[in-house]
Every structure is written in structure tokens, then in C-alpha cells.
Amino acid sequence: MKPPPFDYCCPDTLDEVLTLLAEHGEAAKVIAGGQSLVPMLNLRALHPGVLIDINRLPGLDHISLEDGQLRVGALARHKAVLESAAVSEASPLMALAYPYVSHGPIRNRGTLCGNLCHNDPASEMPAVALASGAEMVLQSAGGTRTVAAEDFFTGMLSTAAEANEILVEVRVPRAPAGQGAGFHEVSPRKGDFAYVAVGATLQVADGACTGARIVCAGVGDGPHRAYAAEDALTGAAPGDDAFRQAAAAAADSIDPSEDFHADADYRRDLVRSLTRRALADAASRCN
């Protein structure tokens, strides 16, 4: 009742979706769970000409582990992903982060792929995708392409997906054996958008860190990867000293936004403390 007027299509096949996207382009919005889109419509912050509802498409709600990749389809709901054994097996980081993703009723309906396409800067899953080296499978009438997470998230609420493309699947490489993960977040209430969230993965060989990924949410216009902090860890002995140094580097690497919820200094300090905690957790889970 509250949104501005729009046309509504509810196709039965992906081909029809792609045709509609080709036809309407920028005027179209794909709706899956609608948990971000519908509030924006109701606030009349968006005025799309046509909504393309993909909820009737068959075979897009898969969550599977094939060829060393976790594959999550466009209609897989947060709740299903959260509870999936394939996710905890393939991506401990995603499994650790998922309880922070929104609230139960929203998880029942919202989708991982929709969440990634929305790319809210305080959202957990874009950061997880970035840390995990995920790939986005984008399909249009012209064909299919895959885009790496680091190229996909292009800025505040924006991605590399073209107006005629739909994200049909996200693929997350299976975490290497022995990798540990940690995830920490501070938000107004559990499930709210993060003031700051930090995810980390770590591998240790012969008493030295061999590979570290550190990502932050809530600190800028999209997910942030703290390369300098990762570099600081490489070759270092895992432990409190190294983690504190990496945490300081992570805090230095951001230029956080300032809003009603948190100011920049506080966000920077949160990145420091949460990075240290995430690394300590990750190290404790390495084997």
C-alpha cells in the first residue's frame, strides 16, 4: 500500500527474467526476499518502474558443496544458509558470521544473494564474501560471467552487476584445511546493522602465520579488507603481540564514517579490538 506505483512481473523461468531485465534495464528491480527493497519502496526512496519477482523460479534455492566450492543460489534464504551443514563445512567464517545477520523474521525471507547485491556497508556477508574469495555468478540475456568479490563490491549500496544482470549464485571456495576463523561484531542490538564487524581467517604452518584475511564491515562505503594488517601477520608467530600489531594496522587502514550510531574514533578503536579478538579466535581454531 505504501510504495509508489510500479509494474509487477512474476515470471516462471529464468529466461523470462533475463528478457525482462534486458527490456527494462535500470527501470527494473529484482525482488527475492525484499527485506531491504520493500522498506526502501515503502519510504518511497526508490521509484522502480517494474519489480521482477523471482520467487517462483525453480532450482535457485540450492546450497551445495561441489568441486570444492560452496554454491548458494539466488533464492536460498538466510535461515537455510545459517542452518546448512554445507556452509559450516565449507566456510567456518560464514558460519560464525551468520548469527549476526539480522533478526529471525528477516532471515526467514531474506536471501544471501539479495544481501550481497544490496551491499549495505554495515552488512556482514559482503565482508565474508571478500575474505573468502567468493565469486558472483551474474547472468544476463547475453550470457553468464563470474565476478570476484573484490571486484563486485564497488561502493555504497552498489555492485558491479549491470542493470540487465541477475546474481544467480554465489560461489565460495572451501576453506583450506587447517584454517581457523573468527568473527566479532558490535551493534546496537544483536542482529542490527554493525557499528563495526571484523572477520578473520588464519593459517599457521611451522609456528608462523602463512595466510591471513582480515575484513571489516561498517567502516566505510562497503566491505573493507585490511591488506596491511594481513601483511603484518605473514611470517609472524601467532600470538598476542602479532595480533595486536595487526589490529593496529587494521585500525590504521580505515577511514571510518561518522554517523548517529558511532563516530569515527570509536569505529577505529572497535576495528582494533575486534581484529585482535577475531585473530585470537581464528588462531585457536587453526589445526
Binding site: M1, P4, P39, V186, P188, R189, K190, D269, L270
Partner: protein, 789 residues
Amino acid sequence: MYVGQAIRRREDERFLRGRGRFVEDITLDQPIAHAAFVRSPHAHAAVTHVDTAQAAAMPGVLAVLTGADWTAAGHGEAEGVWPVKDMSGADSRTAYRPLICVDGVVRCVGEIVAMVVAEDRHQALDAAEAIEVAYEEKPANTITAGALDPDIPLVHPAFGTNEVMVTEHGLKEETEAALANAHHVTEVVVPTNRVTAASMEPRAYLGHYDRVNDRYTVWTTNQAPHIVRRYFTKSLHIPEHKLRVIAPDVGGGFGMKLYHYPEEGLVLWGAIVCDRPVRWVGTRSECLLGDTHARDHHTVGRMGFDENGKILGVKFETLAAFGAYESQWQASITNAYHFTMLSLAYDIPAIHTQVRAVYTNATPVDAYRGAGRPEAVYQVERMIENGAQEMGIDPLELRARNLIPPEKFPYQTALGITYDSGDPPVLMGKIKALADYDALRAEQARLRAEGQWMGIGISAFFDMAGAGPVKMMNDLGAKVGCYDVASVRVHPDGRITVFAGSHSHGQGHETTWSQIAADRLGCDIDHIDLVEGDTDRVPMGIGTWGSRSLSTAGMAVYTAADRVVAKAKRMAAHMMECAPEDLDLADGEFTVKGTDRKLSFAAVANASYHSGDRPSDLEIGLEETSFFDPADCTYPSAIHLCVVLVDPETCAVTLRNYWAVDDVGTVINPMVLHGQVHGGLVQGIGQALMEECAYDAESGQYLSGTFMDYAIPHAEDVPSFGLDAHFTRALGNPLGAKGAGESGTIGAPACICNGVIDALWHLGVRQITQPMTPKKIWRAIEDAKRTQH
């Protein structure tokens, strides 16, 4: 006996099954049109042009109305039920909230500039979007603390000041002397954050005009339907007897739904203009902005102690926000409920308070669950906490030394209010045991040695509940009589309908009023129905607010039921050929004392209506009404105690434990009481830790317009509450009952804030403005570090 039993709520069946009937559920035999509103996006602006032409031509649009139309129709604005009076006794600088902008100036974000009425809601919203309004922005101020500073923009330039009024109460000279002679003086600056009720059901109104019979009807989310008629006498100039007000099921009020909101008057206006029923149901964003806000005091306080921590005197200077306009009950806070309660549960010989009410370019402030008392408790308890910490006296011990001892009751405070009954030391003893206080302090010391920050918070207070008596509340500024009304109608088959002037919007009156009536009438509770919320069915009522209904409407039920019994006994005595005094009434039967002679209540009821064989001076029928004016307010009291943990790095707060020991006098239904305490505590926790109606200081834009930005606690944000009770009887009503609706919101903000300060005191933190969000705690610690180095 039903009173005292935890009977399951009789209304819950329909609520739990989704069968409640709220304003949005009302259907009529005419199709209902919908209203949508154009609201000011600016905090302060001149409205230079409103172009409605395009909107008026859009599909489904029935009318587009502006302030010019309102003025042309001769309509006005509702008068205050509790208007401002300053200390001189004069009516002070009153600017009532207009229903629609009529003078070409909008003074807060959200002020209504135009209304669209259309066949459906969608069309109304589309047309509202098509109305073009030209604004010239003016400088605005939304901040209470600086509202009287020079160079601050004036909300109402005609007054020449942002000051609404000044009030002073208490013992000025004695207080100055006490502070001058004190061994130790604590000073605090304590702003109370602006919050709003955020009721589960948004505000909603449906207006209807019956042109044939010249009768108006308004369905409204209101807590006091009879008072709504009073508002309309001045806004749309409708005589009270012409207007039927129905408040059906209402999903939460908390004081916020007491007022004549613009939309309530405008939908009825739209109905008259369009000759169609018109409805509006608020969106969350409209309600977070347009529902009255609450609290928003800025207080500087000084408290003097002797060397043993005994409080000698306390002085307050407060700026109290009114927002852009005066809402109808606004001065109930400043002139009745705030200053009166500043002694809390303490024996304080000298208190003086000055309140200056101020206009700001913000949503009007009015009463919300607690109304003045949460502010009072926060202001006093923050000083007590800091005083105890500064003097090195255990905070609970210092409070215990200052509690009003039982032998001093009835206790007259330095502000002239007399608490009829209570026993704070017993409450303190109970909460100390319940929380295992000494063990908590030991744990706190151990954790602090480990670098963990644990705090213990305490608050102890009295509440002024149960408004009346009429005279006392008139003296405190009320323009409505604070009594309440009930009729008990016995039908010829012996079943009973109770009509009450209260209104249940979560309180559970269908259960508790029936418990009272069933006990008085000696009948099965299932033989009683309750009618509330309809001015055509209930004779009169002042409504449900301020924890008043039990000791006013509830007592009217009690009194009317007793009158019914007295009359029925006369009829029964005539039928049984005995004296009325010889009869007992229980289990639906009259029994002649000492015999086995019985006569059913139903038979007496039937005879009361249908038998010519009755005492010659006994009127036909069995129905009685009581207009109950209580002998006194009631003064419930409580002590709260909590444990908070503050993360030393992230500054996130965990509320680990919360205990409350309440004295609410006689309890009708312990389950309902616990529900009241739990709900109030959660709202108080919200005020302490996360809720804030925030404005951008520069632009005056409202920042809390959705539930993503206005956080209210979830179940997992609150601990399981530990409750205990000790009951002293209220002296002002026959059941000895006190109010119980506001204890949680009154005590929790101060208690939790004291807990956080206690956790951080060793770091040098002395005060944090509520809500104590992690960023503010972090900043306070950083500031303290800098100050100390």
C-alpha cells in the same frame, strides 16, 4: 475470592488468536476513504506556497485540504487538559499544537501542511506526493539545553522568548542553607534523553458523520475516550452530546495516546467535507516522528550531605522541553508529576526545584509512562550515586541511611506531598537479600582486579499514582476532574455487565475489574462482561493513565457493585421475609445467616425487574453507578538493583541482572502486576541503553524515524527479572490498592545508569548522557583518561 489470584487474562484469547478489533479492523456500511498527509520536511520554515491542483485532479482523490480551508471553516485547536501556569499563577505563553499549519509557519519536522482524502490509501499517498509546497527555511533549534541562550532562534517570536513558564517549588532558603553548611556537596548535570512510547499499534483514527441524524463518530486509539469529546468542542466545535467516541481494542498507549493529535481531528473534518467515513493509520515513521515525545529535561542538581552521608538538602534547576507546541496534558509533567516526587524514598529535609519550560523546534513533549517521575528519579539518584562514590560510602548503605523510616508515615516531603503508606527499609532489606548484595560487591572487586568492569546500580523511589482526588489534581493544574466512573448492570437472568470509564490498552481490565466485581457480587467471574471505550455506552470516564485506573475506575466498580448488593439484599430480604442484614451473598446465592434458607441471585435479579411484589420504596431494576473520587492519590514505592558488565574494549553493555521489589498495596492479580513491572522495566532499560529521539543539531532533521535508528530492547537484550514485593495498604481507597503501571520506567533508567557509572567510576567517569550507547561510554572513558593525564 478472585482478588489476589493470578487468573489468566480473559482478553488474551482474542488477542492471541488475532481476533482483536482495532481501529484498522472497523468496517462500516459505507466505503471508507483514506487520508494521507503532507508534512513539513523542515524544522522551521515559512510556507510560501501550497499547490494542490495536480493532486486534486488525480484518480480517486475526494478532497485536498490545507490550513486555509481549516481556517475558512472556522475550526480551531484543542485546549489543554493540563495547561501551563507559571509560578505567578498566570496563564503563560501557550501555543497549542495546531491540527494543520494555519499561520504559514511550520515549527517542527512533521507538522502537517495538507491533507488528501482519496478512495484508497494508495491513491491518497500518490496524491500527497504530488502536492507542491514551497518553503523558506528559517533558523531552528532542537536542543533543550541551550534554548534560552541569546541568539537562539525563537520558536514563537511573538513571545519574545523560548521560555514557556517558570515554576519553583520547595524550600528555597532552607535548601540554600543546607547546601552552604553541608560537609560534602555533589553537583551533576543530567540531561534526560528524549524518547517516545513506540506502542505496538500505531495511532489510527476513523471519522464518520451521520448527516441524517447529525451525529459524529470517531474511532480512535485513545486512552480516555470521553476526554476526546472535550477536545473536539474546541477543534471542530462539536458539542459533546453530538459526538460518539469509540476506543476499541488499542495496542498500547503509555500516555502517548491520551492526546488530540492532528490526524484525529483531521479525519473527522475530512469525513464531514467528503460525506464519507475517512480513516488514517499511522506508519511507523509517521508515528516515531509525530507521536508525542517524552522526558527531555536538562537538569543541574546540587546535593549536600553531612559527614555520615545523610542528605541535608538538594537543589535542582531544570530546563524542560515542550517541543514546538504545547500538547494537551503537557503541564501535568512539569506542574504535577515531576516536582512533587523529587524526594523519592528518602527523608530529605530541604528540597528546592526550579523548572523553566522551553520551546524548541521539535515534536511536542507530553506524558509517557512515568511522566516526570523517571526524570525525578534519574536526577536525584544520579546525585546520590555520585555522592556516595565521592564520599567513599557504600552506595546501598548511604541510601539505607536516608530512607524514610516506617514510623514517619504518613510522611510529608519537603515538597508538601504526603506519602500515605510505605516501608522503604523493608524493601531495601528484601532487595539486598534477593540480589545477595555483599557477594556482588565481592565479585565486583575480584573482576576489577582481573580488568573486568562490573557495576551495581540502585534506585529507590515513590510514585504518585491514581490521580485524583479531583480537588488535589485541580490544584495541581488539571482542568478535568480526576475521578472515574463505573456502572454495574445486573440483567434479569442474574448475569452482569460492568461499564467502566477506564480504558484497557494492555492493562487487562476485563480480567481485573471482573475479579473485583465478582468478589463484591459473590458471583462467578464468567457471569461478568466489561464494556469500556465507548462514550455512548459508558456514562462518563476520565480514562486510563498515570497508574490511576485501579484506584479510581476499579474502586467505582467496587462501590457500584456494593450498591447493587445492598439493593439486591433488600429485594431478597423481602422475598425471604427476613432483614437485609441477615443475608449473606456468596456463590450466586443469598443465604439467611445461620440457616440453610437460600435464594439464587438470579431469582432476585429477575424479581427486581419483573415482580410487582417488592418493598414499596424500592425502585424497579438492579443497576448502580458510582462516580468515585478517591480520598487520596496512591503512593507505590520500589527499590531496583541491577548488575551491568561493560566490555573494557568495545564498551558494549550487558545488563546481567535486574531485581525489583515493589510495594503496590493490595494486588488484584499477581500475573498482571508482574506483566506491568516487566513491561515497564523493558521500556526503562530502553531509555537507559538505546532509545533516543535524536535531532541533527544543525539542520533540525529528525534522525530516529525508523526502528533501525530508534532501537527498542529485544527479549534477548534483557535479563530474566528477579521480583519480590512487600505490601502496605493504600489509605485512600477501600481495597488498599496502589498503582503499578509505571514502576519499571520510573526506576530503571536511573538504576542502570548508576550501574554503568559504578562500573567505570575507578576510571574517572562521572556522568554519561543517556542512552548509554557504546560510543558514549567509549568517549567518556577517553575523556576521563585525558583529564587524568
